[in-house]
Each structure stands twice: as structure tokens, then as C-alpha cells.
């Protein structure tokens, strides 16, 4: 069941668009937030009913974007490191290895205390400030090993 709050948010999003289905991205985001970082089948079914779409269409929209985590619960902080060309050239692979070591998890995993999930994504459109990563809704740019350590420390 979607939370009341998520439902309200979806209602609000609906007002922004000329037709219901256009609100699918907003709806998925609200549902994901309500569940604490991931989406489940029931959420997509419910969204489909509200937006008068087929569940599989909602699923297809969600599955296309790395920002939606279908059936993959994430920690409180979801770190998405860009590993596309600009970031890779400027050392993204090295930073990823470094974080794996510091957090003692592999890419795709969550720390046992559910604090942090580490994953990699394709270009986030911030190549000018590469290497970069996104933690929940925020970008962290021009990263260095030291800067990463600092950031990790700040994640409670």
C-alpha cells in the first residue's frame, strides 16, 4: 500500500501534466521515497491504477532508470558512483575500489548496518566536474580520495 503521503504527492504531481501517465516518474519517486529507497511490485500496481496505465508500463519506466531500485532495498545513504567515460578517465575506478575497501562491501552491496549502499551508474551529466557521485539526491563533484573519506565519515 502506498502511504497517504505518497498518494498526496502523486495527486499533486498529476496536476502538473496534461495527461495522467506523464506523472509516472514523479509517482515512482514518491513511492520509492515512501518505502525508504526502493520499489516493489505492489507499488507499481498501485501507480498503474492511479495513472490508468498497465503495470508493465510503469515497470518499464522504472526499469529504464538507475535511480529507481526495483526489489533492491538500499541503505539510508545510496551512493551512486559514475563510471562513464569522463569520470573513468579521471579515476572513478580507483575511487570505487577505495570505497569498497573502506566500507568493506562490494559494489552493489549494502553495509550490514544498512547505512550505505554502493552502486555504479552511467553518466550523470556532470562530466565537467568529473569524477563525481550522487548520494541520495545530492551530487558530490571533483572527487579525490580524501574528499571521499570526508564524505563517508559524514554519513550517519
Amino acid at each position: 500500500m502506498l502511504s497517504e503521503e505518497a498518494k498526496k504527492e502523486i495527486e499533486k504531481a498529476l496536476r502538473k501534466y496534461p495527461n495522467k501517465r506523464s506523472a509516472v516518474m514523479d509517482a515512482l519517486r514518491s513511492a520509492q521515497k515512501a518505502r525508504g529507497g526502493h520499489l516493489e511490485k505492489a507499488d507499481m500496481d498501485e501507480i498503474a491504477v492511479i495513472l490508468e496505465m498497465q503495470s508493465v508500463e510503469v515497470n518499464a519506466a522504472a526499469a529504464f532508470y538507475t535511480m529507481y531500485n526495483i526489489d533492491k532495498p538500499v541503505g539510508r545513504h545510496h551512493i551512486q558512483v559514475c563510471r562513464n567515460i569522463s569520470c573513468s578517465l579521471l579515476g572513478a575506478e580507483h575511487l570505487i575500489k577505495h570505497m569498497e575497501r573502506t566500507l568493506n562491501i562490494k559494489t552493489g552491496e549494502t553495509t550490514p548496518d544498512k547505512r550505505i549502499t554502493l552502486s555504479t551508474v552511467e553518466c550523470l551529466g556532470s562530466c565537467g566536474t568529473a569524477p563525481m557521485m550522487q548520494i541520495n539526491d545530492d551530487f558530490h563533484e571533483n572527487l579525490t580520495e580524501a574528499k571521499v573519506d570526508e564524505i563517508l565519515k559524514g554519513l550517519k
Binding site: K41, M44, S55, V56, E57, N59, A60, A63, F64
Partner: protein, 834 residues
């Protein structure tokens, strides 16, 4: 028109022609995966890249229109190497398990790699796999995603053409999988169009799995036997067993699409229970006999007085058979008592033919779809004529037009309509009258008394139709502002004939207002139109000419049999006992028949009453022509021989005729067709050549197959009145009947695949009604009328009219004709938890 050069060859084509089509015109083949003429282009697979002089990058020819003066090269080394590279990428993760793949031998990927290379891969990485084992997506679909080329045709055909929209492209890049929501078993139309369009062995037929290789199949290019849409298909057999039916891209009005019945229903043909020998009743029991014997018994029992003879022939027989059937009755037996339906009143049929102007010749569905407003009324088109539904959906999505659907039941096509009207079942007449009054309101405006009368009448018919005035006005407005209107009128007009007069009136009114009007009948039996046009009707001879003498229709024949006024009844291919709308009347009459001859492919409920049973041929075992609802005469072809001693129906009818008159019959269907051509002016131009023509330019409309007009006509339209349904609080639901998406009549019930999809009856009511009764989808419920009750499974439908229940006509566990009473409106029933 634009002129372009393709590989140096100059060619002039219409504006906006795609480079791909222009090249094909010029005789150059360009390979494609994601392109399909009747789907919206997405240009994603990049197989069709071509070089355009002056442009640095290659361009996808399937989404790029030609521009004047373009010089295009389709066969340069750059293009060739692009093709090879695209294929190399597709093979990077491809399973390459051709030896165990059902698609092997007719796989587009195989063919293309063979033709364009690369014949050696360079990818050393381990292959990505979606799954280890194939998984079933439905009782007819089995899936292997590892072979996918991501052309998305399956998803697109399901959304854009079928309208079910249950498949999605999940994920992205090479990890994108075309499948259902969480790979769930699909509760969909099960038409297998996703399978048909799949170029590789990704979507596959479950019933066909591991049965054969395509090169071991023998095929016949024919026309579907199930509804009057008239889809072209190839049926294929191996070792005398029908293995598969498939459509062909760019061929027939349906191109690559079919519905579940067409694609999966033909296995009913090769069942062990087929009738294989004539049977003659001896001492109360039906026993095997020779043809000689059976025919002799028949001859001995044909009364000399034609008035005591009657015949009913199925609208699934061919034109040639039907023509010969009426010739036998009219010319040999001297009887005018013939009919082609166990369900409709012949006067209603005549009125409908007149209202729909069927005597004016064929009307193409594609022409209808060019109208500014298209009205679908009296038809469950999504269930009854699924491929007509596809055509309407596909074309209406691509142009600005009004699509109006008037039906008590919600249907899949609703999503394409810009006006939906939910009128009370059996009240299409009242609805049309209100539209006519509203359309005409300007004419009576300001006339005082006349205006009051009209508006009083408008209010009363609107409420009788159970619709709100706004919908009626909106439809009238749409009609007023349209220069061309098409009305697609379905079989509900025949079930409840009092609406026919209004249908004719609306047509005439629109015509007299200077609009171009076409009426397309939507019929549910493959050759219903042909049966009427061949003259299998008690008052109409071939080409709707009035017969010299008016005979009895099915109703009256059964009554006459019961009363002992008719001694000899010959029923060919029609299961009167189970299809006649009032089972009690039919079985009582058949039980009393003095001499009953039944010709069929199976031991039907009707055949059980017979004195002589004659084994006929199934549609894949004979040749002839069918006329579809539009009036296209198309040839059906023989794939196999009938089993045992069974014979093509034409031969049987001729053999009976020859017993009386040795010069009776044309010896084969070609000669029979010649005879039809010379005597029936609607058919004078019909030629067998149409069938073998591949449509050029993706134009699916072969107009030369449409039958001609009959010339001056004296058709009559009687007014019909129907006893109103007895409304009461005890029975709150109005019962509607018709065909199910998976079944039409009794024939499809004999298909293993189709009865696997749905074997037992379901009753459908609106979601709101279900909720207020505390019922949900899947519950077992009791459907009860004052005469009959049955327990069936409940289906809920969003958007159907409340207080209406729908039951399909063909299920053995719930014969709807036990609910029906002759001459009465829709029966009233109650629905309660069982």
C-alpha cells in the same frame, strides 16, 4: 512526388516515402529488424542503415523520408560493414542455440548473418544470460529472452495493434528484456501476434514446441474459418496433423496479425472424434453405412411435395456449397424452405441487409476508416471480430477522426474511442432514434408544437436507451460536422431487430444531408454474407433477388416439424440444437422430426437426432470461396483430405442432387463458381486469382476482391416489435449474449488449445455491480433466470453498463439458449454467490 537516385537508379515516389520503401520499389532489398509497416517506426535496430551522399553518417532508412534530389546508396562497402557490425553486436550475447530453437530454418537473424556476416565473432567475454531455462508466459507463449534482438516488435504490436499492452521493455541496453510484468503468466488476448512478429526464437508458440522443423511442413494459403473479418492465413500440416496456422506479413487485410481463434483454433480439424463414415439410423440406433446406402435412404425419404421439405445450411460452408444447397432445394426439391442461420429471423436479416445496403456491393473496412466519424454499434468487435478491432485501433491512432463506440459492454477498443456510449442492451434502436432527433432538432426549432413533440420524444427515447442526453448530443454534433460517416453495425441488430429500422433511417438521413455514408456489417460467422448472397434465405435468392416463392425460415421450419407439417429436414453444418435461441423449442422439434439428415464434421447435439448423418469436410479439407463481412470474396484452399470416408460438402450436396437429376451439379468448385458468376451479378467479377496476390506497398486493401452491387433492389424492411424484458427486483441483470474472444460457436470448443485457454463459461458484470454484491473477479456465481440457472465463474469489467451481465454463447456447461425465449428481449437474471 519526389525524385531520388538509389544506387544510381532514378526513381520517383510519393512525398514522405521512407527511403526503405523507395529502395524496395527500386528493387533493392534492405535488411530490417525493428521496422514493420503497420507499427510506428522507432529506428532502433540500425540494420537498415544507408549512405546518403553529402551526409557524413549513415542514416536509418526505415524512419528517414526521401527528399527531392537525394542520392542514396544501399550497397556500398560502408553500408555492408555497418550491417555486419550490427549483427556482430547482436550476436555478442545471443545464445546461438539454433539446433534446439523452434525458429531455426525461418529465423531472420540466421538468414541475415548468413547473408551479411560476420561469420566469425570477436567477442571473448562471457555471454550475458537473462535466464537459464525457457519460461512459459501463457498457455500459448514460451519465452527465451537470451535470443532477443531487442527490436521491440512484440511490445509494439501488443500495444499499437492488439491494444492489450501487457508486454514491456524492461531494463535498458543489452539487458533490456521484453516480457510481462514480473514475468507473470499473461491474462491477455492470447493471439500470439507477439510470437508472429518476433524475428527470432524469443517469443515462441507453446503448442508448436519441438514438434517439427518448418521445412517439414506442408502449407496452404487460405482464409480463416472463424469470423467474417476474413483474415488470410497459411495452415500447415505434417503427417496429416494440423500443426500451425500463421499470418504472412503484407498479405491479406490482416497482414501479420490474427486472433487467438485464428492462430490456435484450427487444431480442431484433426481430432480423432471426427465423423469418418456415413451413419444411418436402424432400429433406433445410428450405425455406419456406405455412401450408396445413405444416399439411397435419403432419396427414399424425400417427400414429393416440396412444402414438406426444409433445409438449414451453415454460414461456415463455402459459397459454392451454399449456392448448390439452395439450388438443390429450389430447383430439385421444389422447396423454398431454406435458411442459413439457427439464430436470426430471416425477416430481420432482410431488413438488416437493406439497412446496411449490402446489396449495393462490398465496402472496404479501410475505406470506412477514412471517414471523419466512425460509429461502432451493436457489436462486441473486440471479441467477435478481433482483427477488425486491430484495424480500427491502428488506423484511428494515426489520424484525426471521431471513433464512437456504442455498446452496453466495455471493450478493449474503448481506449481508442473519443466517445463511448453505454446504452441498455437491446435498445440500439432507441439510441439511434435519439441521435436522429437530436440531429434534426434544428429543423423543427421554432415550429412550436412540432418542436415540443420532437423534444418530448427525444427525452423519452433517450431514457429508454438508458443514456444521458449529453452523449446523444455529442454524437449528433459529430455527425453534423463530418462530411463522411461510416457505421459499423454488428449482430446485435439481428438479435434485437427492432433497432434495424433506425439504422436504415440514420443512414438515409445522413445521405440526404449530403454526407458520404458507408455501412459495414460486422458478422461473426466466416461466410454469413456469402450464405445470404448465394440465396440461402427463405425469401431471397442469389444476389438478394426476391425468390419466386417465400419459404419458411429456421423458426417456422422447427415449428412445422413439431406440428408434423414438414417431413424432411436437411441440416448442413449447423448445430441447431445448441445454437437456436431457445433450446427447448429446438430439441423438441428435432426429436419429432420424421426424417432428419445432418451433415457435419462432428457428432453434434443436432446430429444425435438424425436419421442419416453425413460426414463432411473441415475448412482445410476442401476448396471454395468465402465472402467476408466487407463483401470480399476470397478463396480457401485444401491442405488435407477429409478423414475416412468423409467428403467435401460440395460433393455430398451434388451427390444428393444427382440422385434426382443426373445433370444436377457442377463437378467441382471451379465450375460451381462459374455457375455462380454467370447467374449472380454481384459475383460476376469474382476471380480466384485474388487470393494468391501479395499486396504491394503495404496496401492491405485489395479492392478488386469486393463483390459488385446487385442493381435495383426490392428488399423490404419490416418493423419489429419485441416484448420488453420483464424487469423485476428479483432479476436485476439484463443478460447479453455473444461470442467470446477465444470462442465462436461450437467449433472452437473442439480446439484443444482454445479450450485450454478457456473451457468453462464465465459471466461478466461491471466492477461496480460486483462490488455492491460483494463479489470479485474469479468468484463462482449462480446466474439465474425464471427458466434456468447455472453456476459459472465471475469476471468483472471496468466501464461496462451496470445491471448488465454478459455470457458467451458456446459453453457446454452453460448453454445460453436455455435462458432465451423466442421473440423476447434480453432475459433478466440474478447473480448471487454460488
Amino acid at each position: 512526388m519526389v525524385t531520388v537516385k538509389i544506387n544510381g537508379k532514378e526513381i520517383t515516389v510519393e512525398d514522405n516515402t521512407l527511403i526503405l520503401d523507395a529502395a524496395r520499389h527500386a528493387g533493392y532489398e534492405i535488411p530490417t529488424f525493428c521496422y514493420q509497416a503497420d507499427l510506428v517506426g522507432i529506428g532502433s535496430c540500425r540494420m537498415c542503415l544507408v549512405e546518403i551522399e553529402g551526409q557524413r553518417k549513415l542514416q536509418p532508412s526505415c524512419v528517414t523520408p526521401v527528399l527531392h534530389g537525394m542520392a542514396i546508396n544501399t550497397e556500398t562497402p560502408t553500408v555492408m560493414s555497418a550491417r555486419a557490425s550490427m549483427l556482430e553486436f547482436l550476436l555478442a550475447n545471443h545464445a546461438l542455440d539454433c539446433p534446439v530453437c523452434d525458429k531455426g530454418g525461418e529465423c531472420e537473424l540466421q538468414d541475415m548473418v548468413y547473408k551479411y556476416g560476420p561469420h566469425k565473432g570477436r567477442h571473448a567475454e562471457p555471454k550475458f544470460k537473462f535466464q537459464e531455462k525457457d519460461y512459459a508466459l501463457s498457455p500459448v507463449i514460451i519465452k527465451n529472452s537470451n535470443r532477443c534482438v531487442q527490436c521491440l516488435k512484440c511490445v509494439r504490436v501488443c500495444r499499437e495493434v492488439v491494444g492489450a499492452n501487457v508486454l514491456g521493455a524492461l531494463g535498458r541496453g543489452d539487458h533490456q528484456e521484453e516480457t510481462s510484468f514480473f514475468r507473470h503468466f499473461l491474462d491477455c488476448d492470447q493471439d500470439g501476434n507477439c510470437i508472429e512478429v518476433c524475428p527470432v526464437g524469443c517469443f515462441m508458440r507453446l503448442p508448436y514446441r519441438y514438434k517439427t522443423r518448418p521445412w517439414d511442413l506442408k502449407g496452404a494459403d487460405t482464409i480463416c474459418q472463424w469470423c467474417a473479418t476474413g483474415c488470410r492465413m497459411v495452415i500447415e500440416e505434417r503427417d496429416g496433423v494440423l500443426i500451425r496456422s500463421k499470418a504472412q506479413f503484407g498479405v491479406g487485410l490482416n497482414s501479420e496479425t490474427l486472433c487467438a481463434r485464428g492462430r490456435f483454433g484450427n487444431d480442431s480439424m484433426t481430432r480423432a472424434e471426427r465423423l469418418k463414415t456415413p451413419l444411418v439410423r436402424r432400429f433406433g440406433k445410428l450405425e455406419p453405412a456406405s455412401w450408396q446406402e445413405a444416399l439411397a435412404v435419403i432419396k427414399d425419404n424425400v417427400p414429393s411435395d416440396g412444402e414438406r421439405i426444409g433445409g438449414i445450411a451453415s454460414p461456415r460452408l463455402t459459397n459454392e456449397e451454399l449456392y448448390l444447397f439452395q439450388k438443390l432445394f429450389r430447383n430439385v426439391f421444389g422447396s423454398a424452405n431454406i435458411d442459413s442461420s439457427a439464430r436470426w429471423d430471416p425477416d430481420a436479416v432482410e431488413a438488416f441487409i437493406k439497412a446496411a445496403s449490402m446489396d449495393a456491393g462490398g465496402v472496404s473496412v479501410f475505406d470506412c476508416m477514412e471517414s471523419e466519424t466512425v460509429i461502432v454499434i451493436g457489436s462486441q468487435v473486440s471479441d467477435e471480430n478481433p482483427v477488425t478491432d486491430y484495424i480500427i485501433r491502428r488506423i484511428s491512432a494515426g489520424r484525426r477522426m471521431n471513433l464512437v463506440i456504442a455498446s452496453p459492454r466495455a471493450m478493449k477498443l474503448d481506449s481508442s474511442a473519443n466517445l463511448k456510449i453505454r446504452h441498455t442492451a437491446g435498445k440500439a434502436g432507441a439510441l439511434l432514434e435519439s441521435v436522429i432527433l437530436s440531429f434534426n432538432s434544428a429543423r423543427v426549432a421554432g415550429t412550436g408544437g412540432l418542436e415540443d413533440m420532437a423534444s418530448g420524444r427525444l427525452a423519452s427515447v433517450t431514457s429508454e436507451a438508458g443514456v444521458d442526453g449529453e452523449a446523444v448530443e455529442s454524437l449528433a454534433r459529430k455527425l453534423k460536422s463530418s462530411g463522411s460517416v461510416a457505421i459499423m453495425a454488428g449482430t446485435d441488430f439481428l438479435r434485437f431487430p427492432e433497432g434495424i429500422a433506425k439504422l436504415g433511417l440514420l443512414k438515409d438521413l445522413l445521405k440526404s444531408s449530403g454526407k458520404k455514408v458507408s455501412v459495414l456489417p460486422l458478422l461473426d460467422r466466416a461466410n454469413q454474407r456469402g450464405a445470404w448472397e448465394m440465396g440461402v434465405h427463405p425469401s431471397l435468392g442469389p444476389a438478394y433477388a426476391r425468390a419466386k416463392q417465400k419459404g419458411l425460415g429456421t423458426d417456422e421450419m422447427l415449428e412445422a416439424v413439431s406440428k408434423g407439417a414438414l417431413d424432411f429436414l436437411y441440416i448442413a453444418g449447423s448445430d441447431v440444437a445448441s445454437m437456436y435461441p431457445d433450446e427447448g423449442v429446438a430439441t423438441a422439434a428435432l426429436g419429432r422430426a420424421r426424417f432428419l439428415v445432418v451433415q457435419d464434421t462432428f457428432m453434434t447435439d443436432t446430429a444425435k437426432f438424425a436419421h442419416v448423418v453425413l460426414p463432411g469436410a473441415a475448412f482445410g479439407e476442401k476448396e471454395g470461396t468465402f465472402t467476408n463481412q466487407e463483401g470480399r470474396a476470397q478463396a480457401i484452399r485444401r491442405l488435407m483430405h477429409p478423414p475416412g470416408k468423409a467428403k467435401p460438402d460440395l460433393d455430398i450436396i451434388r451427390a444428393i442432387g444427382e440422385r434426382f437429376d443426373p445433370s444436377f451439379g457442377p463437378k467441382n468448385f471451379v465450375l460451381a463458381l462459374d455457375e455462380i458468376r454467370s447467374g449472380n451479378r454481384m459475383y460476376s467479377n469474382v476471380s480466384l486469382a485474388f487470393n494468391n496476390k501479395k499486396n504491394s506497398d503495404n496496401r492491405l486493401d485489395s479492392k478488386e476482391a469486393l463483390v459488385q452491387g446487385a442493381g435495383a433492389s426490392d428488399l423490404e424492411a419490416k418493423e419489429f416489435a419485441q416484448k420488453p424484458s420483464a424487469e423485476s427486483a428479483e432479476y436485476p441483470f439484463r443478460l447479453i449474449t455473444g461470442n467470446h474472444l477465444f470462442h465462436s460457436g461450437k467449433g472452437t470448443m473442439r480446439s484443444e488449445t482454445l479450450s485450454g485457454l478457456l473451457k468453462a463459461a464465465v459471466v461478466e458484470i461491471s466492477e461496480e455491480d460486483a462490488a455492491s454484491l460483494g463479489l470479485k473477479n474469479g468468484d463462482r456465481v449462480r446466474v439465474k433466470s425464471k427458466d434456468y440457472a447455472a453456476v459459472v465463474t465471475l469476471r468483472t469489467a471496468r466501464g461496462s453498463k451496470n445491471a448488465h451481465a454478459f455470457l458467451a454463447e458456446n459453453f457446454e456447461d452453460c448453454p445460453v439458449n436455455r435462458f432465451l425465449r423466442r421473440g423476447e428481449g434480453p432475459p433478466m437474471v440474478s447473480i448471487t454467490r454460488a
